[in-house]
């Protein structure tokens, strides 16, 4: 059923009966990776992860092994798991947390062992009530099983893991905001550089922040070796990855596919079973609401971080949203802008004020009261937020939320200027 021969890695237990229980996990090979890891040295594990070239699955796509190697040498070290998944159209961590919490916990213990963490925190988006229950139940089981706690599996390695709920704030997915939130504060991102979490993170200690999917890959990588992972995919984009496919396809869902060798078209036509009602793709968002849009001519691009990056967008959080030819682009862009306006934490003027202006102007156009000059005005305001309007963006703000505001609006105007103008001239949506 897959486009390539690569078997799924992180989703291979999803769909099994009671996949979230210890019993099911052990029946299906669970905790073998951790047992093997404990026979290796921490350096060997890090080396395997470097060899795998596992890229972070949270959005920024940074090499996991390299991140671990950059830790400041000081005690204690913390591991913080980013399970705050709230990038619009992304729903993979939600599934992994609910369906395979033991795989995540196993990945957490492996990572903690490799980096010498004193304690690990699994920050789960507060809205994921079932997810919180599943991870906590799995963690209780893992303690009782000896996979977490004192003398893990009879080794000399001790680790406590704590499940920590969020409380509803998109910005807390940004790693330094996540740390602030975990410290019991408002989720205000910290200025970085100079102080990345690897140097000054939780409670000022060196900290690794990794995404749920990133860590869920570790048991397989340790068991099968980094080279087996690197043998999948191509270039820097190795292994398999979950893509959350949404929008106007017949079968939206999470699909784990081989990177670089699978294309956006495969996602839409093969996995998604085509655009609904046999319509045409008008545009698509390749990597979550923060990403600049692509047109149908880019459907044959492989799911490769480098190639999508070179084409001026990003794979981001792995969320691919398909918009068919009945979609009102003004409305789509407006809705995404409104999201950023609502979620701006308010620390930086360009983001706080800019998002408000862009949202207001977009709404005016959407509601039929737009003016022709509005398009240039929008580009101008966006240019103040992210000078040059390129991707990756120039940053005038503390975090990347600000420069993500222009993505949808600028894509919309560049790709569909006529439609925007028609919207303005007719004072209504040409799509009815």
């Amino acid at each position: 059923m897959a486009v390539t021969d690569a078997a799924p890695i992180v989703t291979r237990r999803v769909g099994l009966a009671e996949s979230w229980t210890l019993k099911s996990y052990l029946d299906n090979g669970g905790y073998a990776g951790l047992r093997k890891a404990l026979t290796m040295s921490p350096e060997q594990i890090t080396q395997e992860v470097i060899t795998s070239n596992l890229l972070g699955r949270g959005g920024a796509g940074f090499e996991a092994g390299k991140k671990w190697s950059m830790l400041r040498q000081a005690q204690p070290v913390y591991l913080v798991v980013n399970g705050d998944e709230s990038e619009p159209a992304t729903f993979k961590d939600h599934m992994l947390i609910e369906c395979d919490p033991h795989q995540l916990i196993e990945g957490v213990v492996i990572c903690a062992y490799a980096i010498g963490a004193a304690q690990a925190f699994i920050y789960v988006r507060g809205e994921f009530a079932l997810g919180l229950e599943r991870v906590q139940a799995a963690l209780n089981e893992a303690y009782a099983h000896g996979a977490v706690g004192k003398g893990i599996f009879g080794s000399g390695f001790d680790l406590d893991v704590v499940v920590h709920p969020g409380a509803g704030a998109y910005i807390c997915g940004e790693e330094t905001a996540l740390i602030e939130s975990l410290e019991g504060k408002r989720g205000f991102p910290r200025i970085k550089p100079p102080f990345f979490p690897a140097a000054i993170g939780l409670y000022g200690a060196p900290t690794v922040v990794n995404n749920v999917e990133t860590l869920s890959n570790l048991p397989w990588i340790v068991e099968n070796g980094g080279a087996s992972f690197a043998a999948l995919g191509e270039g820097r984009s190795t292994g398999t990855r979950i893509f959350s496919l949404s929008g106007h396809v017949n079968r939206p869902g999470n699909y784990e596919v081989e990177m670089s060798k699978t294309t956006f078209r495969d996602l839409v036509e093969h996995y998604g079973q085509g655009v609904r009602l046999d319509r045409q793709v008008k545009a698509f968002i390749p990597g979550g609401a923060s990403a600049p849009w692509f047109g149908p001519d880019q459907l044959d691009m492989p799911l490769s971080q480098e190639q999508v990056g070179a084409a001026g967008s990003m794979l981001g959080s792995g969320a691919v949203t398909i918009m068919d030819d009945t979609t009102c682009m003004v409305r789509a862009a407006w809705r995404i802008t409104r999201f950023f306006h609502r979620e701006s934490c308010g620390q930086c003027t360009p983001c706080r004020e800019g998002s408000g202006w862009v949202e207001k102007i977009m709404r005016r156009i959407e509601e039929g009261a737009g003016r022709e000059e509005d398009l240039d005005l929008l580009l101008d305001v966006c240019d103040n937020i992210a000078p040059g309007l390129s991707w990756p963006p120039q940053q005038t703000t503390i975090c990347v939320l600000g420069p993500s505001i222009p993505s949808s609006v600028v894509s919309g105007i560049r790709m569909f200027r006529d439609e925007f103008l028609l919207h303005i001239k007719e004072g209504a949506c040409p799509h009815g």
Partner: protein, 241 residues
Amino acid sequence: MARLTPENVTRARETIALYPQTRSALIPLLHLAQEQDGWLTPDGIGHVAELLDLTPAEVYGTASFYDMFFTEPVGKHLVSICTNIACLLNGGYELLEHAEQSLGVKAGATTPDGEFTLEEVECIALCGNAPCLAVNWRFFGDVTPTRFDELAAGLRAGQLAEEVPPHGTLNRVWRTVGLVAGVPAEGRVAVQDAPAVAEAEPPADTVKDQRGQREPADEQATEDAAAEADAVEGSDEGAAE
């Protein structure tokens, strides 16, 4: 207008003991207070502040940053409808409109009988089953107008009490062990003997296999919930292999 009950104070202390620094327990404690009262009462906030050695203003100022905390009463059922991009493309706004008509209130308001508070929310990470919503943060996907009305009627009649606990209740599975790895930390409160209660197993999946299956949430087997209730007994030591 309640302070935390003695039982919840015990829970709060156990939670605080899990963190190297006390203030980290702020969000978990606010969830606890909201679980107890359905919203954050001034007394609840004051008590959380006391337990964390903070001022009520500090706690309030942090709580107000987060969308899930309510400092005013909410309906029995908080209905959160997503209208973000994937839902917008699949009828999210039409669903919201229908819900407004059906419940007779606008988004942001509570029905006069106190049953429902309706809100429009950002992406709830169920985009493969758009349009979708959550009730007290229990998720429902592929919600048609008809299914919405059935759901609302079921909630009103108290038929979904098991699946959808009262507002504020997030995690019904309590941690069975304190910290055992023995990491010394300044100011860490001694871990009280954690209650070795076997909590009810979390309910069955609302989404099940999200790999492309559009499974209506209400068809999920509830038998899943029965199994495994006794498998999570923990000990303070964490069983060795």
